[in-house]
Symmetry: C2
Subunit: 232 residues, 2 copies
């Protein structure tokens, strides 16, 4: 397999970075090829803007999605975006590796999605969910957070973690056609012992070694809806 890890943590000694490195090493041992986009190290710009296109199709009224569609067709995407698209194209599996900031991805990772998941290639017209542009590829989240497991779930103080992850897992990855594997979540990270952290890293190695045994998350299929996207 070709694997792309997109990593978004500013501290190279962080536990989130250790998870990234653990995945890198584990996949290499298993004989896979691994690429890493270390967004902080790359100083990746997260702001969707006119600078993302070598030429604008409609310079007097800036519509980001329309410019993406045009630029993807005409090879007019900025080089940093095009490079990330090539990495995603090469990958059979992408892993987004990040600390949960405000129950969501850090802005630098959100901007990687906003800028790289271009209209026309990742989705467009009726090409989404199981017909999305990335159909045939897998994706997975690996995240760290401060809360404890009992703080998430129905009737818990924060509610189900799945709701917070739905913009990324459903609205982004599944929508673009990726088969989404269950997330690997490291809870309570800032407050646990070195020993507990090592246990999590061992669990992650086991998780990654048996990815093919994971049941992918369930999302809608276009065939369950009519032409206007009403349920059949």
């Amino acid at each position: 397999m070709n694997i792309l890890i997109v990593h978004a943590h500013p501290e190279p000694q962080s536990f989130t970075t250790s998870l990234k490195t653990t995945a890198q090493q584990t996949f290499k041992k298993l004989g896979h090829r691994v690429e890493v986009s270390d967004l902080y190290a790359m100083q990746f710009s997260p702001v969707a803007s006119k600078e993302d296109f070598l030429e604008l199709n409609q310079p007097d009224y800036f519509n980001y999605a329309l410019e993406q569609r045009n630029a993807a067709k005409q090879n007019l995407l900025a080089p940093d975006i095009q490079a990330e698209i090539e990495k995603v194209k090469r990958a059979d599996l992408i892993i987004l590796n990040f600390p949960l900031y405000w129950t969501s991805v850090p802005a630098i990772l959100k901007g990687w999605i906003d800028r790289v998941f271009v209209s026309g290639l990742f989705y467009g017209g009726k090409r989404f969910y199981n017909h999305g542009g990335m159909a045939g590829k897998k994706a997975m989240l690996c995240l760290t957070l401060g809360g404890r497991t009992h703080m998430f779930g129905e009737n818990s103080i924060h509610g189900p973690i799945e709701h917070y992850l739905s913009p990324i897992q459903r609205g982004t990855l599944a929508y673009s056609g990726f088969e989404v594997l269950p997330p690997f979540i490291a809870y309570h990270v800032p407050y646990i012992s070195q020993e507990a952290r090592e246990t999590i890293l061992e669990d992650y190695i086991t998780y990654l070694t048996h990815l093919d045994q994971l049941e992918p998350l369930k999302f809608p299929k276009l065939e369950e809806f009519d032409e206007k996207l009403y349920p059949l």
Copy 2:
């Protein structure tokens, strides 16, 4: 009332920008004071980084939340962050005004939250939800999107819009203590007529004129949980 509108669209002629301007004008007519943070016009940096602090408390291991807590106490926050914090402090109501990008906020707005909602001021220890740092203030989303209303909700193709908005409405605004008003959502915007757009702007004026009649969204209260945050 003092109102802060945080606006995140790169095109000044966009419908999302018209919603911002409409809110600005409506509130002024009603006698309120309005400030606007136009993130694209300000070239607001969304990347949480070491540059956010005039001095680091722990330069050899960068922990963003801990540095925020220290810097908020010692007046060591970067001037662009401190300026936004002052705007939020002055405001009785904040409106986040944005186009939905990947069922979520654009990266530039996510970064405004990551950098401005600092630990120690907005939350910290047992100060969250109804005891959050911003308790007593209101907040509201105004967003535009491409989908139609029937594509969202239980059993619809994309599921409930509330799930996608939960990182921002629950995990961010309610968590920080804001009373969250129901969002104003403009559907199908890229595909509708000028007349339909004008109707939405009129509806928005009516909405904003009767804010005090809106029932705030419901979120947990700390009193419903024990010391370890298990439900009572």
